[in-house]
Symmetry: C2
Subunit: 600 residues, 2 copies
């Protein structure tokens, strides 16, 4: 297994910093962007404070850590988990399939070297989910980590700026409200989840909830005939780098088990899957052969590998299927269509629904969260907000209660294709039926006629629904509806959703959200080109575009760019305006002294 083609290294003018906890002995990773000084027109040098930003890239961007994919990432949370004394190390894997793959010598060359054969599991009678701890009033290290992470050092920045009166950015920094206790309370209320499988100690804690920063998920995964394990791991590392807060491994090809092991061991963000996909592979794609036993074994297999959340389409019921018959595009969820076929073939209710309590009891043992899938999401505008969709949503509300009774953390998946004026209703209905469980939507796409640009049609809907309260957006790439995304598509998709999520943070007035924007604007006005690149969501592209016409080093500090040219640069002109205005004010004073009020 070659693992050399992995993207590593820090971002431009950035370093990894670690902020210490106050309750627990923890260190929270962030990215600090160094800025150049400002020189004012009198030649005074004014320091621009570094900007700290939320960082999903993990150890890959820490120059002081040598990442070895074959060993996996450091096990950040291992000791925190053990210290709670509510888990036990198993003697071996519990799933039949996991054991079978482990003993198959033909897979040796694919297998992750340091694969754990002794996964953790909750002790008999114990609950190990962050939801359970939160209900008990316990602030875990994970919760404190998240609180510090969400704040992005706004407290410190605020203090610093208190010393710099008159700085236009000072006014933009509001009170922080993300305390560890607030995090605990939101989780206890079910308004947020902290996905953290006890078998994925490599993950840096993060939170999904509408009173926190909006998160984005990046889908990766091979499909039959395309991509290798190495490619998939690199696609994952690439997605973290650009801002994926979680990834979902949606592989449907060969060696899914081994691919997943590599990804989880090397993932600093929570990993989600749709276990039904693998279960279907196990029965060679024959939907009618799917059974609770095979599905259950798959759940256990993946729980013990360290998957942090499962999409489970348990709310698609027999009675909903007739509602889809006159739809324009029927059922467009892969999981949804599989289950509908299964139901109709067997003339039985969805086995994920009838076994939902069993499912929860398994997930609770590992703190795997459930993402209740929307198997009946609309696949086109014509089907948006219909009976089938909202019928399923009601069922998801019912399942939310069952999950919580079993101390399983739960989020709800949402659409899909929805025109702008029908977006808010989705959020309203979700809040009404699902007791404020976090909403996790795919887009929505606001028109159907732009294949090749569906990262944009969905970013429009995504920004809007996130503003209304959606906690996490699943990215959509420009290849949507057309083909499997490649590495470039993944990056374009991640950045597009990052900006949509950020737009929602701004609109929601999240504390400090505008800080980075303001730093960018200041750099822009002062023609600090390098700082503009460093502060950009995509430094590489920003610099590349700038350099296409003005590549020379000298142009990194000139007071114009090729867009308007030198004489037409408005910012350059504004500086002159300000000088003129100052002179005018001085003159005004002279006039005033002589009794004239022209400039008042």
């Amino acid at each position: 297994m070659k693992t050399k083609n992995i993207t590593q290294g820090s971002f431009p003018n950035s370093q990894k910093i670690y902020v210490k906890g106050k309750i627990h002995n923890i260190e929270v990773a962030m990215r600090e962007i160094e800025l150049a000084d400002t020189t004012d027109k009198n030649g005074n040098v004014i320091k621009n404070h570094p900007v700290t930003v939320y960082d999903t890239s993990g150890p890959y961007t820490d120059e002081n850590i040598e990442v070895n994919l074959e060993k996996g990432l450091p096990k950040l949370r291992k000791q925190w988990i053990l210290d709670r004394e509510d888990v036990e190390e198993l003697d071996g894997l519990s799933s039949d399939y996991g054991r079978m793959r482990l003993t198959d010598e033909n897979l040796d060359h694919l297998r992750f070297d340091h694969v754990s054969t002794q996964p953790l599991k909750a002790k008999e009678g114990k609950y190990v989910s962050q939801y359970y701890y939160a209900k008990k009033g316990i602030i875990t290290p994970e919760m404190e980590y998240v609180a510090i992470r969400e704040n992005q050092r706004i407290d410190e920045i605020k203090e610093k700026y208190a010393q710099h009166k008159g700085c236009p950015m000072g006014a933009q920094i509001p009170e922080t409200h993300i305390s560890p206790e607030f995090v605990r309370d939101e989780i206890a209320k079910g308004r947020a989840i902290l996905p953290a499988n006890i078998n994925h100690p490599e993950a840096e804690p993060m939170i999904i909830g509408r009173n926190f920063l909006v998160k984005i998920n990046g889908n990766i995964g091979n499909s039959p005939t395309t991509s290798s394990i190495e490619e998939e791991v690199e696609k994952a590392v690439w997605a973290f780098r650009w801002g994926a807060d979680t990834i979902m491994d949606l592989s449907t090809g060969e060696n899914i088990h081994e691919t997943r092991e590599w990804i989880v061991r090397n993932s600093p963000v929570p990993v989600g899957t749709v276990p039904l996909y693998q279960a279907l592979e196990k029965v060679n794609g024959k939907v009618e052969d799917l059974s609770w036993e095979i599905y259950k074994d798959t759940l256990i297999e993946q729980c013990e590998q360290g998957v942090d959340y499962f999409t489970i389409h348990a709310g698609l019921l027999w009675k909903h299927i007739p509602m889809t018959i006159h739809r324009t595009t029927g059922i467009v969820s892969r999981g949804g269509s599989i289950l509908a076929k299964w139901i109709l073939h067997h003339h039985k209710e969805n086995f994920l629904y009838t076994h939902f309590e069993d499912i929860c009891k398994i997930l609770a043992k590992y703190d795997v969260a459930v993402s209740l899938g929307d198997g009946l999401r609309p696949g086109c505008l014509a089907d948006a907000n219909d009976k089938a969709q909202f019928g399923e949503l009601e069922a998801l509300g019912h399942l939310t209660k069952i999950a919580r009774e079993n101390f399983v953390q739960v989020i709800i998946e949402g659409p899909g294709h929805v025109p702008m004026h029908m977006i808010k209703e989705n959020m309203d209905e979700q809040l009404a039926h699902c007791d404020e469980a976090p909403f996790y939507t795919l887009g929505p796409l606001v028109t159907d006629i732009a294949p090749g640009y569906d990262h944009i049609t969905s970013a429009i809907g995504g920004a809007m629904i996130a503003w209304h309260g959606t906690a996490m957006l699943c990215y959509v790439t420009q290849k949507e509806h057309l083909g499997l995304p490649n590495r470039d598509d993944v990056k374009e998709g991640v950045i597009t959703f990052k900006l949509a999520a950020h737009a929602a943070d701004l609109a929601k007035g999240f504390p400090g959200a505008q800080y980075r924007d303001n730093a960018m604007s200041k750099a822009r006005f002062e023609f600090r080109w390098r700082d503009q690149f460093s502060l950009a969501l995509d430094s590489e592209k920003a610099m590349k575009f700038h350099d296409e016409t003005l590549p020379d080093e000298g142009y990194k500090s000139t007071h114009f760019c090729s867009m308007c040219g030198e004489n037409f640069c408005s910012m350059r002109a504004t500086m002159e305006v300000r000088e003129l205005a100052e002179k005018a004010q001085e003159k005004a004073k002279e006039f005033e002294q002589s009794g004239n009020e022209l400039y008042s």
Copy 2:
């Protein structure tokens, strides 16, 4: 002057059609997209009616018209204009500059061959604007053209579908409301404009107003040291092709006069400019040397060339400048910053403001519309919706009245950089102050931190503000803030704004807006890949993306794509679900007959 590298030719599976008028002898150009038949599971062949779409591409996509750039496009409106008997042909150009350029032999190689030296002008005492006619109760050929164009043959489609009950698209086609009288009334109320300089008879009439389809503008234009006339003409043709409803020529380099002549003569859409840019070139970039005389001569020069609307920053007043001093990014409008410098240098009020009535009297003679520029639009989130911006907006409201008193059509320009939650206020304020004149916005961009992706940050804001009532969106390309857009950037920008505008049409419930989406969804569900490409805003990119992984011709009709692969295609599965559901219903009937109610 070489003019060979111009993109021509029809779109895939499309032809140009011409719909005849009922009041006037006119033919309205549209694009008709031919679709493949549907074969149902019983082998029955069902015809899919062609889809007619709004088409900005002009004669360039009509296979029956040979475009010769050196002769210019056919003069569609020439006879309509002459028939009104209110214009006279001048003996020569009225502007000093126009005459000077015409007699300069050094420019012969650059000059458009068939340049008109006898422009049209309103006869003494006559008004020739569409606004004037509308006020008088006259429905011009231009107005009927627009009414037919906006309807996109929805009447006919409706009739056809009336014969196809049960078709899911039938229900989506609402009543039409765009009658010629409605068009006239909206123009008479000042709620819409129909930009149509009597010296630009080549342009196909279009309308800008919030009760019509949302329009988009594409900016083109050279900047010092980059791009030639040929490149600029091709950039314009390229922009029409992908959907620009108007273009603005923002050239600031050499030979602006000649470049403009080429562009106007070959433009089937209205052309806008910012005359101040050329005026500044005439005084070699020295702002202090700008004068009313030079500006006035520039207006006349461009009126007689056929420019359809001018951006005029007449609302930026002396008193507003101090309001910008503590802004984060000052004045970011090129025109705005130039005028602020002029005001402060001369200690005089903005000459565009003091001469606004003179300006209107010139524009009225040619039916050139005024686009009141927002010289104080915010250049970053931190400056959004501030006193300077809204102060200027109030002044624009005052100028709107003056324009209308002189029968000049008027639209209002808007921001800029605005976070999502502050967007609606812009529309509300504009409606409140500017007596419902159409709003024309640049974005707004909803975050500052995504240079390289600002076509997307602005499409998010653009879609939202257009839903709230903005009539035209000025596109932003991915090069915004970084450099001059090239041909690819122009296309990407146009398509991005086309989809944003369309999303707003859908959200506003514009009659028939969803028709194309529904046709796309039906094609998607039926795996008619070629139809999906034809119906896409960007057929080329859609096909390219699809073919990256499945290039063979056979894959244009397979029931899956590389995104999910064969076994995981939900649409394919849905078809099976439907068959199973039908069987289940049959079975249910059997059960019913035997007294069983299992399937009820």
